[in-house]
Amino acid sequence: MTPPAVELRQVSKSYREGDVERAVLRDVSLTVAAGEIVVLLGRSGSGKSSLLNLIAGIDAPTSGTVRVHGTDLTALDEQARTRFRRRHIGFVFQFFNLIPLLTVEENVLLPLDLNDRADAAGVARVRALLDRVGLGGRGDSFPDRLSGGEQQRVAIARALIHEPALVLADEPTGNLDAETAAGVLDLLDTLAREAGRTVVMVTHSREVIGVADRILSIQRGRLVERPPDGPADPAR
């Protein structure tokens, strides 16, 4: 039987602020099936990004287990978690976070390079994917020459190029105007579904809800599941 794409069991995360322990997530459990697109809602500071970081293995939970495609990330050391992330996870950020020192093509090629797959075939795939995201002629440009929407399309290409099983997106449209945001979202939705990728997206914007298979929200550190046609975000 195929394991779920993401499986969280009684995950808690707290941060120490001086003498005070501040709990961000409390006993969160979640299962995301392979190929599902899940949207995670919540107001600023609710712990959405923290949850995403735990799934990516960027951060470790205070308690509980995090499994991605059957691999228990909490049992891995830093090095192994990084290697796992490099191979199986793609990331899209709110502020694009392209490497300013690399060209557009090099930015997309980077995950392949890290996985030792930046050969001629890899380069060809990068160019094809850049064509798909509408930036075929911009491979040699540096990121600071691109508009916000263009940068985010490069970031989506970078998140998908190494065919990760799981794509994590942290407010992918948070820094774009409504029209550009819709285009970017559409692109992510299309590309992910075509390749059967699992996507976990964190947002507090309504537009994103349209692409979701499931919608979850975080309230006071706990995860609450809501039907897709329910109110957008009771917390707002």
């Binding site: 960027i58 992330r85 490099r86 300013p100 690399l102 090629l109 980077l110 390079d113 890290l114």
Partner: protein, 851 residues
């Protein structure tokens, strides 16, 4: 400044403690090096001045003679026949203290009844009656008891001696004993320092001590009437002359000053590197806060207030760093003083300094230097901050574009500074100061050209790094260019420090090579015998003639030749003359700058050769003449040639013993050179000679090899202090590199965070940062090679020639250059270790947190 703004400054400094700490450390080290060298130099100079003053006293003129001094009949004639008063006879010389290793004394033999006018600390014209009575009885003691001596109470306390105790002294290898009959009580600390190391005796005791019966070292006079001076000069016999007091000391002082100038210049280099550090810290602080400054301007804060904000932060760093530097400088001065004094003793003058004289002026100068450097370095960033328009936040990319434009301007400026430096160096009247000013311009020019040159070099390096390490390699080189405003300053500072290391290294290597060759040409006998000497490189003592003859007759000795080394008066001050008893069939193999030694060793005619420093100092050429005061009156000697010589920066005149004997009555010898018969083992011969000399006065018997090693040891000792200064300058550059990398680490947190999320392992991050720092070090090192060679060229061809009068071929040994490049890479990589570790281990979420 407004309170809120002041709070911003305080919090900025508090929030970046490492940046603050490194900047303080950098300026402190720079100031400490400058202050410590200044203190050590001035302490040594002051000790020299006091020592000279202590023996010269208030004399305006001195009557001096040739190598064997002034006959005491001259004193009688001056005082009795000509009625010259005040006049005081002096017999002086340096002695060792065998029971107190490391200490030496200047014996000053005087007539206590006439000396008070010259050296009041010995008598004191203002002293009260009781004291005067004491002094009179003490004077009687000195005269009445042979071997009686006075010493300063503080010296006696140091050596645990009391009146009545005996003090063993070593006079050119002979052991003698003086009895301490009284203690001198200096009125103030300055006099105490002057008297430290002085043994005052009666003239007769001094004559007995130095075996100079009937001879005086000099006669001190106080005369301010030119007509009278002319009468005195006319009455003096041949070989004795009247000179202004201090002329002799002046020549030595000038040579010591040249040596100290070199140290001062090197110490200022550390401060210049420290300035880079301040500039870097303040630039970082301004760049990082551009948004904040923009917001403040929008809120109504004026340009002047922003300027004051940045400058006040710099001043806090400057004040703390300077204070720490001055304190550290005083501590370091103690160690450096030992090195400076040792070199002065090795090369110039017997000097005993044990204490750093804390001079308020020097400490204040250190303070001004530190604060001045801080203000100067912070000026550009502070002006940059005021140019931030309200609410407009300049992007990092725009800033770097501006940095690249500034690089072009800096390159042109650097080329201009090169030309200006070359012009200053070429000016013949520049002297040592001009030499260093030119050198400074050239070095600043090098620093200004560094960013542009680094960009050029980065082109091929980028391709190599890309081919070797793929995208990460390219990322490493690009990140240097992208953060040019940061990396360029660190590279320039490192380049300067490594250039100094290479330049001074090449200079020392060339010098050592020249000295080694010179020793090979000069030292050709198998064994050398000399009386022990207090000044390392000057055989001022004489060898007993009977002993010399006995040693020359030792079985196994095939040939013996003697040399006499003396200081004789010349029209421009004292001249070091060496008379060699050389077999004309086996002349020494010296290298000549011009002319040769043809016809000299036969001893016919007044023919001499002069050393390069002598020729440089006196403008003498082959074919010209040298005028010397001989025992037969002034005489011109024809100069056959100018030879390379590194033995004395004062210069030497060399002649045959026969020519010397014709001109002077001195028949003493200073050293003996012996050749072993074929097949004789040199070590066995040395042992046999030592056995023969045993029981008599101490003599130093050394094999050719041992003497050569001893000479090179003095050479290496001379440059020990240079090594210390080089290390300190490197330390400041290292701190600069560390500060730059720490600043970059803070700025690149997000980029590194993203790379970590994309799957870069901590080790790869570490590798990336280390590669970047390594490349920066490599660039600085590669650029330091031409910089260092340029520096070496100026040091050898201009500074050394102007300071010491000698030239030598430059030997840019590849090992020194490679060491320099390796040093740069090592310093950069070491400086990068901690920032790289911080970047590698920082949780990636931290770097992305502020989203």
């Amino acid at each position: 400044m407004r309170r809120r703004l002041a709070r911003i400054a305080v919090r900025q400094l508090r929030r970046h403690p490492w940046s603050l700490g490194l900047a303080v450390l950098g300026i402190a080290l720079g100031v400490a090096v400058a202050v410590s060298i200044d203190l050590a130099n001035s302490s040594a100079r002051r000790a020299f001045g006091l020592a000279t003053e202590a023996v010269t006293g208030r004399a305006t003129h001195q009557v001096i003679g040739g190598p064997s001094g002034v006959p005491d009949e001259v004193y009688r004639r001056l005082r009795v026949d000509l009625g010259v008063r005040p006049a005081a006879p002096v017999v002086a010389g340096d002695v060792g203290a065998p029971d107190h290793p490391g200490r030496s004394f200047h014996v000053l033999g005087i007539d206590p009844f006439v000396d008070a006018a010259f050296r009041p600390y010995l008598g004191g014209e203002d002293a009260g009656q009781t004291r005067a009575r004491d002094l009179l009885s003490r004077a009687a003691d000195l005269v009445a008891r042979p071997g009686a001596a006075l010493m300063a109470r503080s010296t006696a306390r140091d050596l645990a001696l009391a009146p009545g105790d005996e003090l063993a002294i070593d006079v050119a290898g002979r052991r003698r004993t003086l009895t301490i009959v009284g203690l001198l009580e200096p009125a103030d600390p300055a006099s105490a320092r002057a008297l430290d190391g002085l043994l005052v005796t009666d003239v007769a005791t001094a004559q007995a001590t130095f075996g100079a019966a009937g001879r005086l070292t000099r006669i001190d006079l106080i005369v301010d009437d030119d007509a009278r001076l002319a009468r005195i000069a006319a009455a003096l016999p041949a070989g004795v002359e009247l000179v202004a007091a201090g002329a002799r000391a002046g020549t030595t002082a000038a040579m010591i000053r040249a040596f100290q100038w070199n140290l001062t210049a090197l110490s200022l280099l550390a401060l210049v590197v420290g300035m880079f550090l301040i500039y870097q810290t303040m630039t970082f602080s301004v760049v990082q806060r551009r948004p904040l400054i923009g917001a403040l301007r929008a809120l109504g804060v004026t340009r002047a207030e922003v300027f004051a904000l940045v400058m006040s932060e710099a001043l806090v760093i400057g004040v703390v760093g300077t204070l720490a530097g001055v304190v550290l400088g005083v501590v370091m001065a103690q160690g450096l003083l030992r090195l400076v004094t040792r070199t002065i003793n090795d090369l110039y003058f017997v000097l005993s300094v044990r204490e750093v004289a804390l001079d308020a002026v020097i400490l204040a100068k250190g303070g001004v230097l530190g604060l001045g450097a801080t203000v100067l370095a912070a000026l550009a960033p502070a002006l940059e901050a005021t140019s931030a328009p309200p609410r407009v936040v300049m992007s990092r990319a725009a800033l770097e574009t501006r940095a690249r434009q500034a690089t072009r301007r800096a390159t042109w400026l650097g080329l201009g500074l090169f030309l200006a430096g070359a012009a200053v160096l070429a000016a013949p009247a520049g002297g040592i100061v001009g030499g260093f000013a030119g050198l400074f311009l050239v070095m600043v020019g090098c620093a200004a050209v560094t960013p542009g040159a680094a960009l050029v070099l980065l082109g091929p390096l980028h391709a190599v790094a890309g081919a070797a390490f793929g995208m990460l390699g390219r990322l490493a080189t690009r990140s240097i260019v992208a953060a040019l405003s940061r990396t360029a300053v660190a590279m320039a500072a490192l380049m300067i420090a490594v250039s100094a290391a290479i330049g001074v290294g090449v200079m020392i290597a060339s010098f050592r090579d020249a000295v080694t060759r010179w020793l090979e040409g000069t030292l050709r006998a198998d064994v050398y015998v000399a009386a022990p000497s207090l000044v390392g490189n000057r055989p001022d003592a004489t060898l007993d003639p009977g002993l010399a003859a006995r040693l020359a007759a030792t079985p196994g000795v095939a040939r013996a030749s003697t040399s006499r080394s003396v200081v004789v008066p010349g029209p421009d001050g004292p001249v070091h003359v060496v008379a060699l008893d050389v077999d004309p069939a086996r002349p020494p193999r010296w290298r000549f700058l011009e002319g040769d030694d043809d016809g000299i060793w036969g001893g016919a005619g007044d023919l001499v050769i002069v050393s390069e420093p002598f020729a440089h100092r006196h403008g003498t050429r082959a074919g010209g003449t040298v005028r010397l005061r001989t025992d037969r009156g002034e005489r011109d000697f024809r100069v056959g040639g100018v030879f390379y010589d590194y033995g004395s920066s004062a210069g030497t005149v060399v002649m045959s013993r026969r020519a010397y004997d014709r001109a002077w009555d001195d028949r003493a010898i200073s050293s003996l050179a012996l050749d072993g018969a074929p097949g004789v083992d040199v070590d066995a011969l040395v042992a046999a000679l030592r056995a023969r000399a045993a029981g008599g006065p101490d003599v130093v018997v050394r094999s050719n090899r041992a003497l050569r090693e001893a000479s090179l040891e003095i050479f290496d000792r001379t440059f020990a202090i240079t090594g210390v200064l080089r290390t300190l300058t490197m330390a400041v550059a290292f701190v600069g590199m560390l500060a730059a990398l720490m600043a970059l680490q803070l700025e690149r947190a997000r980029e590194i965070g993203v790379l970590r999320v994309l799957g870069l392992t901590p080790r790869q991050v570490w590798g990336l940062v280390t590669a970047q720092t390594g490349i920066m070090g490599l660039l600085a090192g590669l650029l330091a090679v031409p910089g260092g060679l340029l520096l070496a060229g100026v040091l050898v061809l201009v500074i050394n020639r102007r300071s010491f009068g000698w030239t030598m071929p430059i030997d840019p040994s590849p090992s020194v250059l490679l060491q320099g490049v390796a040093l740069a890479v090592l310093a950069a990589v070491l400086a990068g270790l901690y920032p790289a570790w911080r970047m590698a281990t920082a949780p990636p979420a931290e770097g992305l947190r502020d989203e």
